[in-house]
Amino acid sequence: MEFFLQLLINGLSIGLLYGLSALGFVMIFKASSVLNFAHGQLLAMGAFFFLVLVSWLKIPIVVAFLITLAGSFVLGFAVERIFLRPLIGESLIFVIMLTVGLASMFKGLLLFFFGGNLQTYPDFLPAGLALQIGTIYVPPVYVASSLLGGVFLLLFGLFFKYSPQGIFMRSVADNQTAAMSLGVHVKKVFALSWAIAALVAGMSGIVLGIINGINVHEISSIGLKVFPVVILGGLDSIGGAIIGGIIIGLLETFTSGYISPSLRDVIPYIVLVVILLIKPYGLFGLVEIERV
């Protein structure tokens, strides 16, 4: 039972992180129908940026964290501006291929500068952050990741639901032409969705880096996990991304706990295939409102 609870808590905190990371992916997809294959590399960029700030430049953790978030935001913005905007109006497959290219480019850059070895952050999380519930011990990093995940999901939820920009973003996702006819700045919405996606990806990258260490290949492949997550949750559902993330996180930890750690990374893709077979729109994919 304790073992079960332990796994449950680990799974939940990892899952929240996956959900958060998938949220960025879903946002881009919702706003512009682009599948971003460079998502994992955005995670890695965030993780390495933080590494540079913390290990090389010795900047205080909180400041470094905030700078990384800001930097990721700017990176997302720049990527949209430089690479994607010229392709607006072109066929979607070009844009998707472009993201594949971006993925290779980022990966190449990171390998060039940091090499392929495993790097780690200095141990900075205070031990006091750890939780001891009865006999269950929750390591600080899981507490931190759950807190961050929870807070950011709440923030983004409120942002989408109530802020004008959030509502405009949803309107573009809903009907681009109508949004345009009302003067919504569609290009700005695209840029903002890339920026926010890069921001949450960067943050997830940092936390994953704390948990698993930082390695270009490793983090990029974790980025690929957004696919099972969003397919499970429904490609266009933000809530679904979060729940999908939690389910995949739980599945992973339970598999590695009860069956075998080596199966951990396979399970999400098995789920992906099964879901595609039986429920291709995912658990929470939009039920098309047909009312003409």
């Binding site: 109006g89 509502i167 309107s171 345009m180 009312r291």
Partner: protein, 270 residues
């Protein structure tokens, strides 16, 4: 009506529109929209009415269309081929054909998107104004727009456009697919908006009968050209308009294809 030269808000001078660099849809369209008036644009399917509206509102661009010739002058400045973001900020808002609400947003959120051109300014007052014009929306504030009836959707998209404080409102077939009573209600509201808000309106319609009742002036389009224009009252009485758009032949009977003369007459102005 007093006899003063009317102040022109919008003027199209001989504009041509080409899609994808090869398909010419408008071939030299000229029209004038006086400030504070309702101008109706009539014509059959494919005549170029919607394209004309899109040329004005800048929505041609995303469809790979372009004004290649002529000029569009709005409030003294040339606006052809500007982006929709710029044009909406000048005070032109188009209500698209076929009721396109944001289906997954609530009524109130839909209306909120209407403030995109001035989203930092207060908007509660406008919300009340819209609810005052369109009372059925009040009850459904929190409903997803996708679940509203056709009439409510039409009211919603018009209300959404009103939130932008347009000086010039472009309405594309507001009566499309609505029950006759709802159509009458919608047209009554259009007239009220024009009278009370002073909004200039360009009204594209298939329902020539209704359109000419509330419009001050009308244009008839065929094959990408303006083929006839005049005061609404004059157009209503014009035998050709009566026959081709109001569906009444000179003798008050529905026209028949046997009537070769009418076919020739139609041909003459194409």
């Amino acid at each position: 009506m007093e006899e003063r030269p009317e102040d022109t808000l919008l003027q199209l001078n001989n504009i041509s529109v080409v899609y994808s660099d090869v398909i010419q849809v408008l071939k030299g369209v000229s029209l004038k929209v006086p400030r504070g008036r309702i101008v109706s644009l009539l014509g059959s399917n494919g005549a170029g009415k919607t394209t004309t509206l899109k040329a004005i509102s800048g929505l041609l661009k995303p469809e790979n269309g372009k004004v290649t010739d002529g000029e569009i002058v709005y409030d003294g400045s040339r606006v052809q081929n500007l982006s929709p973001e710029e044009i909406t900020r000048l005070g032109i808002t188009q209500v698209l054909e076929g009721r396109q609400p944001f289906k997954y947003l609530t009524i109130e959120e839909n209306l909120k998107v209407g403030t995109a051109t001035r989203w930092l300014k207060p908007w509660k007052k406008d919300l009340e104004l819209v609810y005052d014009y369109f009372p059925p929306l009040t009850k459904r504030k929190k409903t997803l727009a996708g679940y509203c009836s056709g009439g409510e959707m039409q009211m919603l998209v018009m209300g959404r456009a009103l939130m932008a404080h347009p000086k010039l409102l472009l309405l594309d077939e507001p009566s499309l697919g609505l029950a006759p009573l709802v159509v009458r209600e919608i047209f009554r509201i259009i007239r009220r908006i024009n009278e009370e808000q002073g909004t200039t309106i360009v009204l594209v319609e298939q329902n020539a009968n209704m359109a000419l009742q509330i419009a001050h002036y009308g244009y008839v389009m065929e094959n990408g050209k303006i083929v006839m224009e005049g005061e609404a009252a004059t157009l209503r009485e014009n035998p050709d308009v009566k026959e081709f758009y109001l569906g009444v032949s000179a003798g008050g009977l529905a026209r028949s294809y046997k009537d070769v003369k009418s076919y020739k007459r139609r041909k003459r102005w194409l």
